[in-house]
Amino acid sequence: MDFFTFVQLGDASVRMAIPLLLACLAGLFSERAGIFDIGLEGKMLAAAFLAAAVSFTTGSVWVGLLAGIAISVTLSLIHGIASITFRGNQLISGVAINFFAAGLTVVIAQGWFAQGGRTPSLPRDARFGSVDFPGALTRVRDKMQASPGMQFYSEFISGHSILVYLGLLTVPLSWWILYRTRFGLRLRAVGEAPEAVDTAGISVVRLRFSAVIIAGILCGIAGAYLSTAVQAGFTKDMTANRGFIALAALIFAKWRPWYALGACLLFGLFFAIDNRFQNIQLQVIWIMVLLIGVSVLMTSWAARKEKIDLWVLGGLSAVLTLVALLAWRGAVTDEIGAMAALFETVKVPSQLIQSLPYLFVVIVLAGFVGKAIPPRAGGQPYVKER
């Protein structure tokens, strides 16, 4: 692999990380205020659809973005009314939003465009194009021949959609809001001890609604990015569970903006690897060493910590070991024996690589990354005593 491949991988990681990052920060604002938001996925999906549909119809991607944000905020408000005003169960409300969005986007898309539940392919003007920095090379052939510094500048720094830069900016912005403003102090307080906020004479309801609206805006941008910048149009279930991966990243990030950036870039890298290396050739023995090695590490770690997660990680290890053995078994043919098969070069199944980010989610959630303490009042509707 040459340097340019690495640059390309980094570039792709960032692009894949942006929707995760925006969704993750959406979850961060919401959960920091004490409202669990499992409906990130649904809000993104609804925003992806409406942004694409409106962009196509009006021809303006910015109007599309606004439409995406509008529908996402509307869903956020529904979540807010259910869980803040009526003190309903936040998980159920979120799940309802996910189902609602998954079904309705396809139905409306079919009714609107009659193209099998998708929007038509967006023309160039109705998409977010790439922003090219001064002096940056745009053609792949030119880049490949340029110096490493130029490659880095042209491929990694320059040439992203405006939403990518916007998304990256939200990280310091979120940090600044959370830790340097009055609003941030109150927001963090209301997720930890709403009664303290209430007795200090601040409205818990208003604060929490502000938080879910911010979450709605961020999810709206994330969804619009998927359908108008990464892809050229909406397809069924195009968010591909990114909303849930964002929640895992949020835990991994311990509800902090900068950590969220790191976590999302890591997940983005997995997606990028998956996209780029559909065709990895490896000797069977290396596949086995890798998989079994990871299994042994995970299981021994879980066993040493005497955690209940031993069952989760142990089970996962068993599956990985099984995959390794199957890979070996698959390489054995009549011509070569079991030992020789170990050194056979085979194509790593793309499904295995595709499963990497999800595998990582399981490991993260099983507590592999240390203790993450969620906001104390998270998930509980605020009721004055009695």
Partner: protein, 513 residues
Amino acid sequence: MNDIAPAIELKGISKAFGPVQANKDISIRVMPGTIHGIIGENGAGKSTLMSILYGFYKADAGEVFISGVKTEIPDSQAAISAGIGMVFQHFKLVKNFSVLENVVLGAEDGALLKPSLRKARKQLTALSEEYELNVDPDAVIEDIGVGMQQRVEILKALYRQADILILDEPTGVLTPAEADQLFRILGRLKEEGKTIILITHKLREIMDITDTVSVMRRGEMTSTVKTSETNPADLAERMVGRKVLLRVDKVPAQPKDVVLDVRNLNVTDDKGVHRVKDVSFNIRAGEILGIAGVSGNGQSELLEVLGGYEKATGEIYLNGDQLDLTGDKSDGQSRRARGIAHVPEDRQQEGLIMDFAAWENTAFGYHHDPRYQRNRFIMDNAAILKDTQEKMDRFDVRPPNPMLAAKNFSGGNQQKIVVAREIERNPDVLLVGQPTRGVDIGAIEFIHQQIVALRDAGKAILLVSVELEEIMGLSDRIAVMFDGQIMGERMPDETDEKELGLLMAGMTNGEAA
């Protein structure tokens, strides 16, 4: 005095929660620069009244005057603007915030934090010095003790320039030394001209520091008197509505055979800390053994082992038969089956399931009782309900409604439900932990009488309490625990609080002398 407007005047305040009338037509005047006590049993409506004054609840009827001016208090913000500060019984602090952030929260100067924090730090230091509060502005709440947390609450009120400070049961969570410090601070505040309202059910505090005292009973304000013109017995009678015995009345014990014999008990907890060290003692039939000690010196673990939910090494004999300390037969179910009943220290965590109804709570631990079964598979809820109703009547649980969730009873009545469940089983041994923690006077008297009655019926009783007064009043023999060990045994009439206090601090007589 008459030409000065009262700092606070309430006229005809009423408040109902559903069918429960928490406050009935309450009127009260508090003069500026005084400490006014409000005393009453749990559930008498004291906290409700103060929550109304702080804008936490809305009154159904009545008027509030602050310094002679009629004031509407629709929310806490209005109360704060009117110069009222409140220190709740359960602190309203953000646990992972610093002291500074907690004080600033809600009283920021602008949209950006930095200037507010800088100003607050300066003022906080000044206030902290002025009133000797001794609070570090950068300490994180979860790292500091309850005493300091409470001082942070006071600082919060002072930072908001409160002239009127309401404290709801402030000493419930404090050690005696911390309580004394609090009272000194309150004295300073009074000298500065602040008005203080102190809500409590402890008579000693009222007598010690208040100028005037109002007594509440069942939602009504029954009387207001000058503290100098009353005494504890008089106040207790006004609170409960009848004469109350402030000390336990009992005949000398008639101990018989040894029932419970504990030998060389050792407990090591999950973290590997040696909690109980080589403890041996016995209890005879018809005798109360009191275990004194500052909380956290192994008493809880001792109770847990005997009650069957902590593992241990050593030997325990019940009527001569050895009990299992590990394995299947060492659980609470088996202990109860063998006649060891247990009133746990923390009734809300261990004694009751707060969201379950009283009748369900009454069956816990005894759900295998044949009387509670209709057949092999189905429980006879009607029988449990009837049994609960009878117990509630006998123990005077109020309200006597078995369908009500445990959390809706006051602390004293919750404790009565637990005590009724355990005592009515006629056990050979009764383990009681902190029987009167957070329980009002009337209920304390009743629970003490029940424990003594069980002793007189020839049962063995192990009493663990951090209240020395309770230990001295109830026990026939006193053992003092310190750092997991029993420091010594004394007879109550041959010792005093001073000697026990020294033992509780880990000093034996030789060292003390």
